[in-house]
């Protein structure tokens, strides 16, 4: 049977506010257990929450960047359940009245744009963490993370393949990081994703029974878990079985999903409006103010790079995947006015160096100005491309300017024809057999002569010039 996959994603993103959502404790990751806590985030009797307005502002940025409608008034609600990392016995979240609804983002699927709907974006507080003793049957509670602000971004069931899901996640991630409201660190849990997935016979209008997947901490794992789960569901259906609505956990080591709890075991969260907090009213001025501060978003930047710099869409995609990288690229272009050469160098050597060292572009030892200078030196013939490879490596290692490296190593390209002619003549004189063979038709030997000349000139000869002169002189 031919099946169609239906996927919807729920993303939790930790916001980069200095302080927690309902108290003034620090949100910094790490720190001694329970050192970032106060009566409010510990949920001590009598303590009360007060909303951090920065959280609303950050959440609004995401809502506007994903084309959502921001509700004029929204409310916090309590999600009630018992767990030791949840000190109040409820999580303050939003339920019936979320901050924003009805948005979308655009993906490129098979060369065409596809809209993925965003059902809602709401604000909530994070829970704490349990630390389990490896040797004793004891668990410790660390409430540093309790009350760190989150936004939950719920998509429509609009994705039709694991690749689309992964792509959607990457785009969402990119936007969050561009907006500077989330550091996007999946390993530390600042960007988390749950997936709802079902299958249905192609052409069927109704959705199949879905399962919810949890515990996937990388883009790759989201895709792998979905691929596995789709196969699992197809196997069941093809063998006459029925899918159970349940929550399943991804087991990374085994590459499978396992049932965590069935629908019957699902919590009844008993949501109700939190009486300790008043409705959040977002007036038009506030919204326009936030809108006015939005940076250029990845998609717009990509389109502008293609349009203004005339670089391929692929290059634009790579360069804009990271806002700092895009900024670096633009700085280089501004100083050397060679967009394509700049793109090649940034995407090529610079990114290779950084990737090898797992370094961020912000820490790149080659400044944009230095790279631009090097590109200009290539273009005016001062150095060859080959020399530039060597120079760039040295620039990365030492942080020195290309001119300093060239001076130190005496790497100026030889473009003086008389010097090159003399060098070539020396080689020809020393290789009578090869010359004879070449002249009798073994044209492959041309490379042999080029190599010898480059060696003779310690690689400083202008290759183009060597080629021209050598051709002439070998011909006799």
């Amino acid at each position: 049977m031919d099946f169609e996959t239906v996927i919807g994603l729920e993303v939790h993103a930790q916001l980069l506010t200095e302080t927690k959502i309902f108290c003034s404790c620090s949100t910094k990751f790490g720190g001694a257990p329970n050192s970032h806590t106060c009566p409010v985030c510990l949920g001590l009797p009598g303590s009360l929450p007060v909303l951090n307005e920065k959280v609303v502002e950050y959440a609004m940025r995401m809502a506007l960047a994903t084309n959502c409608t921001i509700n004029k008034s929204c409310r916090f609600a309590r999600k009630n359940y018992f767990y030791p990392d949840l000190p109040k016995g409820y999580q303050i979240s939003q339920y019936a009245y979320p901050l924003a609804e009805h948005g979308y983002i655009l993906l490129e699927v098979n060369g065409a744009q596809k809209k993925i709907g965003i059902t809602r974006i709401h604000m909530e507080e994070d829970a704490g963490k349990l630390v389990h003793d490896e040797h004793n049957p004891v668990s410790y509670v660390d409430l540093n993370r309790t009350g760190v602000p989150l936004i939950e971004i719920v998509s429509e069931p609009d994705m039709r393949s694991p690749e689309e899901a992964a792509d959607y996640l990457k785009r969402l991630h990119e936007i969050l990081v561009y907006l500077e409201i989330c550091d996007g660190n999946m390993e530390e849990g600042s960007f988390r994703c749950d997936a709802n997935v079902s299958i249905r016979p192609r052409g069927e209008q109704n959705f199949g029974t879905r399962t919810e997947l949890k515990n996937m901490n990388s883009f790759r794992n989201v895709q792998r878990a979905l691929e596995y789960e789709i196969k699992r569901q197809q196997y069941i259906v093809e063998n006459g079985g029925a899918i159970m609505q349940e929550t399943r956990l991804w087991d990374d080591a085994q590459g499978i999903t396992n049932s965590m709890r069935s629908k019957e075991e699902a919590h009844d969260y008993r949501y109700f409006p939190d009486p300790d907090l008043v409705p959040v009213v977002v007036d038009g001025d506030w919204m326009e103010n936030v809108r006015g501060q939005l940076p250029e978003l990845p998609l717009a930047k990509r389109e502008r790079f293609v349009r203004d710099y005339r670089i391929p869409a692929y290059d634009a995609g790579v360069l804009t995947a990271d806002k700092a990288l895009a900024h670096y690229y633009e700085e280089v272009v501004a100083l050397c006015s060679s967009p394509k050469a700049a793109s090649n160098w940034v995407m090529g050597d610079v990114m290779r160096f950084l990737n090898e060292d797992k370094r961020d572009i912000r820490d790149c030892p080659i400044s944009a100005a230095a790279l631009a200078e090097m590109i200009k030196l290539i273009e005016d013939g001062t150095i060859s491309g080959k020399m530039a490879k060597e120079i760039s490596e040295e620039m990365y290692k030492t942080g020195k300017s290309p001119r300093d490296i060239i001076a130190e190593k005496g790497m100026i390209q030889i473009t003086d024809e008389s010097v090159l002619t003399a060098a070539i003549q020396k080689i020809i004189d020393a290789s009578p057999q090869q010359l004879k063979d070449y002249r009798s038709g073994k044209e492959k030997l041309f490379g042999f002569f080029v190599g010898k000349v480059m060696k003779e000139t310690q690689g400083k000869a202008n290759p183009q010039l060597v080629n021209n002169l050598l051709k002439k002189m070998l011909a006799g």
Binding site: G46, L51, G89, R270
Partner: protein
């Protein structure tokens, strides 16, 4: 002279004139506590050492000429407001070892105004009750008749004022927990407008209904206490940013031309005849002093109790979820696993009434029942608010009995929760509507039990309540009595 019998304003004058020292006042109150506390049991925890130290600090301030409104005045706190470094139990086993690391806003305010805290008073467990019988720490007795309950849930605070075991006290009112015990103990009790007094540090029962307020010996003291307690608190989202008037300006004056609403739905069968008589006398006094009584209707009155007993337990079921044995308070021993620890801790840590309300509330919020219960109750609550808004178009204040009967006997209603709930029938509506209400003594039954009258006003109209209550108090010519202990 028994200083403990005096009011705040009387003592304040004596302190100012140098006639008495703060230490003398506190010693007088502590002596009274020693003398009668065994019989009354108003306190869970008297604080004699802390009180004397605070009194000495007050005397040092007085010497410096630094006399604030409550300097040297012994005040008792219901054990539901958090006190830094002093155990705060909420009348529950589950919190009997909880020592807050912070002060409630009202505690800070009272302290800053010079108050001397003499103890933490008894209360129904988590403020759930109308008789102070559900306290884990034993029942408080009504100073007017030790066989009877003092009302609740702030029964310790009302009894302490009535028995002169403090000069004034603080309670909390979720469905009548200040006004009802004030009425049954013959003292003045005011529940402010929701949002007028910060709830920060008040251990929550039902967050949308809870409000802190004072118990005092007269209306002027009530105004003095309100001047200290009221005001916006940036730590409390539902507290309202609004100027606080000097409530003392409303003491005395006149009510000429005021229209007094008499809600027909409140004068029902089941009101004790002696209570009815006392209320009729209040009406006479008010009319003689220029007030004009008008018949009004609060059509949704019959739903108040039902709405309250859905909303309050629903909020409570969530508010009390934090008492799980994980972080503080009581934790049951011998739990097999996490779930077992939760179950045993909560089973052993909470009393029967608290568990009853947690179950009612959990049920009312459950999937499939939310719409029928919580949501419906919230809708009716809005109608009840509208009732009052419309009523206050026609009158300045509303007059009702505070309670349908005088204090009942200890144990009389403990087996019948519904009967117990009915004792709050006249007070609950003010919490649902968020409006202020005051209970003022209006006489005694033949058996010598106090009766109270309740006045209700529109949002933030506490001034009107103080005005009419003081006009009544000054003109009622009630016989001055004290409980014989």
């Amino acid at each position: 002279m028994e200083l403990n019998r005096l009011t705040i304003h009387e003592l304040h004058d004596k302190i100012k004139s140098g006639e008495v020292a703060a230490r003398q006042i506190t010693e007088s109150v502590l002596a009274r506590i020693n003398a009668v506390e065994k019989r009354v049991h108003a306190y869970i925890r008297p604080l004699p050492a802390e009180a004397l130290a605070a009194a000495d600090r007050a005397d040092a301030d007085i010497k410096q000429g630094n006399i604030k409104p409550l300097t040297g005045i012994p005040v008792a706190l219901k054990d539901i407001v958090c006190t830094k470094g002093i155990a705060t139990t909420c009348g529950s086993h589950i919190l009997d070892n909880f020592i807050p690391p912070y002060d409630a806003t009202v505690v800070e305010k009272l302290r800053n105004a010079g108050a001397v805290f003499v103890g933490k008073t008894n209360m129904d467990e988590f403020a759930m009750g109308s008789s102070t019988e559900t306290s884990y720490f034993g029942v408080t007795r009504n100073p007017w008749d030790l066989e009877r309950i003092p009302g609740g849930s702030s029964g310790g605070s009302s009894a302490a004022v009535a028995a002169d075991e403090c000069i004034a006290s603080v309670g909390s009112d979720t469905g009548g927990s200040i006004r009802q015990p004030a009425s049954l103990c013959g003292v003045v009790g005011l529940k402010p407008t929701y949002g007028r007094v910060s709830r920060f540090g008040l251990i929550a029962f039902a967050s949308s209904l809870d409000q802190i307020g004072p118990f005092t010996k007269d209306v002027e003291d009530c105004a003095i206490m309100m001047n200290v307690l009221a005001g916006y608190d940036p730590r409390e989202s539902t507290s309202v940013k609004m100027d606080v008037p000097d409530y003392r300006q409303f003491v005395g004056g006149n009510i000429t031309g005021w229209k007094i609403g008499i809600p027909r739905e409140y004068f029902i069968e089941g009101i004790d005849p002696e209570v009815s008589t006392a209320i009729k006398n209040v009406v006479d006094v008010i009319e003689k002093n220029g007030g004009r009584c008008v018949d009004i209707s609060l059509p949704h009155t019959e739903y108040c109790l039902a709405v309250y007993y859905i909303i309050a337990p629903a909020e409570a079921s969530s508010n009390l979820a934090r008492y799980d044995g994980v972080k503080y308070g009581f934790r049951a021993a011998d739990a097999r696993d996490l779930l077992d620890m939760y179950k045993k801790t909560r089973m052993q840590g909470f009393g029967a009434e608290v568990k009853r309300r947690i179950m009612i509330g959990t049920y009312a919020l459950s999937a499939g029942y939310y719409d029928a219960y919580y949501k419906k109750a919230s809708q009716v609550r809005a109608l009840i608010k509208t009732d009052f808004a419309e009523a206050f178009q026609k009158c300045d204040v509303i007059l009702t009995p505070t309670t349908p009967t005088p204090a009942f006997k200890i144990g009389e209603k403990t087996d019948n929760p519904l009967q117990m709930y009915l004792s709050d029938i006249f007070t609950i509506s003010a919490n649902l509507a968020g409006i202020p209400g005051i209970s003022v003594p209006c006489g005694f039954t033949k058996a010598g039990l106090p009766v109270g009258v309740q006045f209700l006003a529109g949002h933030f109209e506490e001034g009107k309540l103080i005005r009419i209550a003081s006009v009544y108090e000054r003109n009622a010519q009630l016989e001055k009595r004290r409980p014989c202990l």
